[in-house]
């Protein structure tokens, strides 16, 4: 197990975890905004959210991440860091990757929540409207709380997919697990199988508890009808 002393495997997985958590929080927020626009009464917003979801969801993640780095940052010059700092490249790659993951994962979050909204009986929203509540209050206090409780299990799948998707960040040089793996593949060509098993195991350790815990939570908060 000299691989652990030679390479910072835990450090690389820590970056993977950071990528996952930051992107998950961002995607949850942006996804909720998207779904609110999509089911909302304003046609322009509905049109924008539908178009955004369909375009981004059907674009390969590799292209989105590469575009964030080569397109946004180097060609258009939109930088998220101070270009003179001594760690500008590492910071910039990390932030651009998070941005790309949020943009991509939010579409899946939005579609999952929309399916949850469909489980809330239409009569409830109608009753709330009859009481004089506006769209945001109906959505925020009546529909979304019930919708979220119904979609925890699907959102867990999205989170697991996101955890594994973070490996795509390696193509723009974010120092996460997959980047370290390609380095180890280059250097340890006589122990390829061990390297692969090690990283596969690392991801199982990250994703298996996510699925189990969120599955249990989904059962606990489920709305029984």
């Amino acid at each position: 197990m000299d691989l652990f002393s030679k390479y910072d495997i835990f450090g690389a997985f820590w970056v993977t975890i950071q990528l996952t958590l930051l992107s998950a929080v961002g995607a949850l927020i942006w996804g909720t905004v998207l779904v609110a626009m999509r089911v909302g009464p304003v046609p322009v917003m509905r049109w924008f959210a539908t178009a955004y979801i369909n375009i981004v969801r059907n674009t390969p993640l590799t292209i989105i991440i590469l575009f964030a780095s080569l397109g946004l940052s180097s060609t258009l010059g939109i930088t998220l860091v101070d270009p003179d700092s001594t760690t500008s490249i590492a910071d910039s790659s990390f932030r651009l990757a998070v941005l790309g993951f949020i943009a991509y994962t939010a579409t899946f979050v939005a579609e999952a929540i929309r399916s949850g909204i469909n489980t809330v009986p239409v009569g409830q929203a109608e009753a709330a409207r009859a009481l004089g509540m506006g769209f945001t209050r109906v959505l925020g206090t009546i529909v979304l709380p019930q919708a979220f409780r119904a979609v925890i299990a699907p959102l867990a799948s999205v989170l697991i997919a996101l955890t594994k998707n973070t490996t795509v960040a390696a193509i723009i040089g974010v120092a996460e697990a997959a980047l370290l793996m390609s380095e180890m593949v280059e250097n340890e060509s006589d122990r390829l199988l061990l390297v692969f098993v090690l990283f596969a195991l690392g991801f199982v350790i990250l994703t298996l508890p996510t699925g189990l815990l969120l599955g249990r939570l989904a059962k606990k908060v489920e709305v029984r009808r």
Binding site: S74, D84, T86, I171, G173, S182, D190
Partner: protein, 288 residues
Amino acid sequence: MRFTRSLKAGAGVAVLALALAACGGGGGSTGASETGNQSLADKAKSTQKVVVGIKFDQPGLGLKQPDGTYAGFDVDVAKYVAKELGVPESGITFKEAQSAERENLIQKGEVDFIVATYSITDARKQKVNFGGPYFVAHQDLLVRSDNTDITGPDSLNGNKKLCSVKGSTPAQKVKDTYAKDVQLQEYGKYSDCVTALLNGSVDAVTTDDVILAGYAAAQAPGKLKVVGKGFTDENYGIGLKKDDTAGTSAVNAAINKMIADGSWATSLQNNVGPSGYKIPSPPTVPSS
């Protein structure tokens, strides 16, 4: 009831997976044993066919062109060696050999030999035989033509931005030796680095000089230049099956002939010369 049904389904899937695995394993091993103990030299002569591993994505060295043909210095070397082994050009099948897969491709017998910017190292020698070296490359820097302040690895001091391919040896070398003073951007492909270099978000790209020269030659002339202060030696060899001594010496003889009759220098001049890269003198190849 539901439980037993899902168990059954699970068992079915497991059996299927096992069967597939068995098929895969069987196919692989028969493929290997056919070519297993035969020397490359004999096999090429008797079958008039070789499978050669090259890079498909390196301009000037091994590039698959839009029309399906292959061009580059590595391709020329592969064709020359095949010719010397008695294989006509129509008998050559080119197969993509990505860096991480090269030892595996040879060991499994999926390719007969590999000409793909394959540096001879001690770790690799444990798994494959090397003919050559047919070229000695040096890790170098590619910069924009109007750049004057980058003259070598030491001049990268002062927060310069350097690009290389993720996980590759040149990137690691820079990380270890120069990381304190230089920032490293890693991309999946060198072409992404070249894009970043052209639009100014990195200051230099590093890998072997001949690869850089290939990228420079693929751009409009006068846009990019290779600095020309190589700081390592990379001996490119032709990889073939471990312990195939007869094959190795046949390959060496072919390389020696290619250098002697001038087609070695001509090929380099045609493929990477347009970048202004100075063609080095050929390496010494063991003639045994």
